[in-house]
């Protein structure tokens, strides 16, 4: 136990515009479970990718059994006994379990002996509690069974280090129990397990040690014996940065309801991505939807904007029902939508700014290009947009500038009869520099002052807290917690984001349970 089975030493990884991992140190010993905990975008997956050979660190290095090693590809990783179980399974649907297990295995004889493979798969299944029929086709298996195949695949190649990337995200509680039995069997057999998660309860129950990451840095490394969920949540969410642009007065709850949805439900691949969501948004109010990415934010935004149809529930904008009437109906009712992917859903990258402006303008037979050009010109001055001109392609603009163009388009004629009443903004300042971010926040405030209702969906909790009058936390498609921003502590929000609630309170005392 003196040398770690695998370690990252001062590993730094940069992507264009992002410092994904900043001098991260991380060690796992044989026979232990070491969890990497953090919000989405904290750098967990990047760290895991460096440990398994998918990425190479820009600075620092990876050590295997105390020796520096260079992993050029996952293949190198596998050759050194490091196996990654991805969140999105790497399985060939049409192959059998056995075929998937031996795919790419250099130790297989050139002529495959099916019976040898099947016997070994059965042995591994027996030993580690992973029962699986080697002849079953992947396409016929449940998600939980597919995950078992992934683990068997790694064990078949004698992996000594297993990285499990958010393995419980796709499992039912019962399957999670079974997985944990397997994990314990693996550590008992001397394997080193790296567990990646953002769910505090699970982390507390399965791991020996926890490394918490935030914004690419390690914010703490603790033994689970010496910590509790509250402390982990603090490390994960970080101290709130009190915002200077604190909202003025939130108006009372008596203003008109501009956006209302009831029982909104959408099922994707058999799971409820949006699950019975109720939202009431009034004139002059900003509601912030917080939550760890992938808990239903994107589908919720698309449902409210009318882009996707819902399975159940209703949406009303400004008093008129727009349920399943499509995006145009929502727009006509006074809804403006600023999606998270600005170049794609928001703007058409290959069209000029003028043409992009025209996209949401009244649909007449002839377009008013001159008017749109004037509008873009005005926006360039007002919003200080840096662009070669009104006819430049949208793709040439930086993230901040394209966000400004998008906001200029969506917020045009704000406060007038035809202007938008409800503004839905996803990740309003993601990827923007400080100046642009401030500007965008200012715009949203101004929109509220001018009588619009604003819905902000963001993974940046600080941003939500500084902008919104009320906060709702999405967890697994449900509103886990809702309240006035001033009445909620960051710990409460953090715990709700991590899914800690009355029925999932491993190690949490009632006082810590949010809601």
């Amino acid at each position: 136990m003196t040398t770690p089975a695998i370690a990252a030493v001062a590993a730094t990884k940069r992507f264009p515009g992002v410092l994904a991992n900043d001098a991260v140190d991380f060690t796992v010993f044989a026979g232990e479970v070491h969890t990497i905990l953090g919000e989405n975008g904290a750098g967990k997956s990047t760290l895991a990718a460096m440990l398994c050979g998918l990425y190479q660190p820009d600075e620092g290095h990876v050590e295997r059994n105390g020796e520096p090693t260079l992993l050029r590809s996952p293949r190198d990783g596998l050759a050194q006994g490091i196996g990654m179980v991805h969140q999105h399974f790497r399985l060939v649907d049409r192959f059998t379990v056995a075929e998937n297990v031996i795919l790419g295995d250099p130790d297989q004889p050139r002529l495959i002996d099916q019976s040898v493979v099947e016997t070994r798969v059965a042995e591994i299944g027996e030993r580690f509690g992973l029962p699986i029929d080697p002849r079953a086709r992947i396409a016929d298996l449940t998600v939980g069974q597919r995950q078992r195949v992934e683990i068997v695949k790694m064990l078949y190649r004698d992996a000594e280090v297993l990285l499990l990337d958010e393995p419980t995200a796709v499992l039912t509680p019962k399957e999670v129990e079974a997985l944990f039995i397997t994990v314990n069997a693996m550590t008992a057999a001397g394997k080193a397990i790296v567990f990646i998660s953002h769910k505090l309860g699970e982390v507390m129950s399965i791991s020996d040690r926890v490394t918490v990451m935030r914004a690419g840095r390690v914010t703490g490394e603790v033994a689970t014996a010496d910590t509790d969920q509250r402390h982990l949540a603090e490390l994960m969410v970080g101290r709130p940065v009190e915002s200077e642009t604190r909202r003025a007065t939130a108006k009372s709850g008596q203003a008109d309801v501009l956006l209302e949805c009831r029982g909104l439900t959408l099922s994707i691949d058999g799971q409820n991505a949006v699950d019975d969501v109720d939202i009431t948004l009034r004139r002059g109010e900003i509601l912030g939807i917080a939550g760890v990415a992938g808990n239903g934010q994107r589908p919720l935004a698309r449902l409210l904007a009318g882009i996707d149809g819902c399975d159940a529930g209703s949406v009303a904008v400004n008093g008129s029902s727009v349920t399943n009437h499509g995006p145009l109906a929502a727009r006509n009712a006074g809804l403006a939508f600023v999606p998270e992917d600005r170049l794609g859903t928001g703007l058409v990258p290959g069209l000029s700014l003028t043409d992009n402006m025209l996209l949401t303008r009244p649909r007449k037979f002839l377009v008013d290009r001159k008017g749109a050009r004037r509008e873009v010109g005005q926006a360039i001055t007002d919003y200080e947009i840096k662009t070669p001109g009104t006819e430049a392609h949208a793709r040439l603009l930086s993230g901040g500038n394209s966000q400004k163009v998008l906001l200029a388009r969506e917020l045009a004629s704000l406060g007038t009869e035809d202007g938008p009443q409800v503004i839905i903004v996803s990740s309003p300042t993601r990827g923007l520099d400080i100046g642009a971010a401030e500007f965008v926040r200012g715009l949203l405030h101004e929109a509220r002052e001018r009588g619009a209702a604003v819905l902000i969906i963001s993974e940046d909790l600080d941003e939500v807290r500084s902008l919104a009058d009320r906060v709702a936390v999405l967890y697994r498609g449900q509103i886990a917690l809702q309240g006035r921003t001033d009445d909620l502590t960051i710990e409460q929000i953090g715990l709700a984001m991590a899914g800690v609630s009355a029925d999932d309170d491993v190690g949490a005392s009632p006082a810590e349970v949010a809601g």
Partner: protein
Amino acid sequence: MNDTAFVLTLAASVAAAVPIALAALGELLSEKAGVLNLGVEGMMLVGAVTAFQIGDATGSLWLALFAGALGGTLFASIHAFLSVTLRANQIVSGLALTIFGTGLSTFIGKSIEGLPLATDFKPTAWGPLADIPLLGPLLFNQDPMFYATVVFALIIAFYLNRTRAGLALRAVGESPGTADTMGVAVGAVRYVHVMLGGTFAGMGGAYLVLGQVPAWSQDGTTAGIGWIALALVVFASWKPLRVLLGAFLFGFARRANFWLQGEGVEIPAEFLAMLPYALTVLVLVVWGTRDLRRRIGAPAALGVPYIRDER
């Protein structure tokens, strides 16, 4: 009913199946790797004209066959480069290959248009076996390429289902991302099998001038066989032994006219000439329908360029 005419027609059908089967087996290998190659007709033309030129110059049948195969292979490498390395649209690239192949073979074949070839494949009778009624003329009185084709189909079936390399090949066609993470060199597998596809198509083209009509004619030599081969892969659900059986059916369709005329049934030649293209349209309909494609067993990643997902 004229029995002799019927048996003769059947025997000729078996021979006519050879080039279709060869080209289709090659296309099957390419498609199993996830690369659709609509350039079969072009590769066959190049194979045919190369084989003719070399056969004419050297007088060696086997050298001619080898040259045809090599010509097809090199020609297919263009498609491999475009679709694997440059990740071009495979339909466009494949069609370009056919158009280019037509032009190139016309150019190479200018001096030999309409000339006869002195050397060609001859059927060999298997002694008394050849005298068995029906089966004799069908199976035991054919030229060596027929037997080679049957063996090729068996080898390919074995390769696909029982070997490590075959498993890797199928994985590349089904899910290149998975194959890549499991250590399979996706690009290399695609290159090899696209080029092997060209080898078989080139051989098929060579056989047209070496085994069927020992002459070169730009629009008469292949006459749409490449398109039939493409359709056949689909109708055979990407299974090599079914490709072989299907080739006999198509071979019969090509030779049936002779027998039908004897029976007093007249099918316009234009109709038969049209068939390959009608089949191609049918295949493209299948191609365009995702659900249908999946149900009949198309490789899931067929036609999709592979890009490793990096940030």
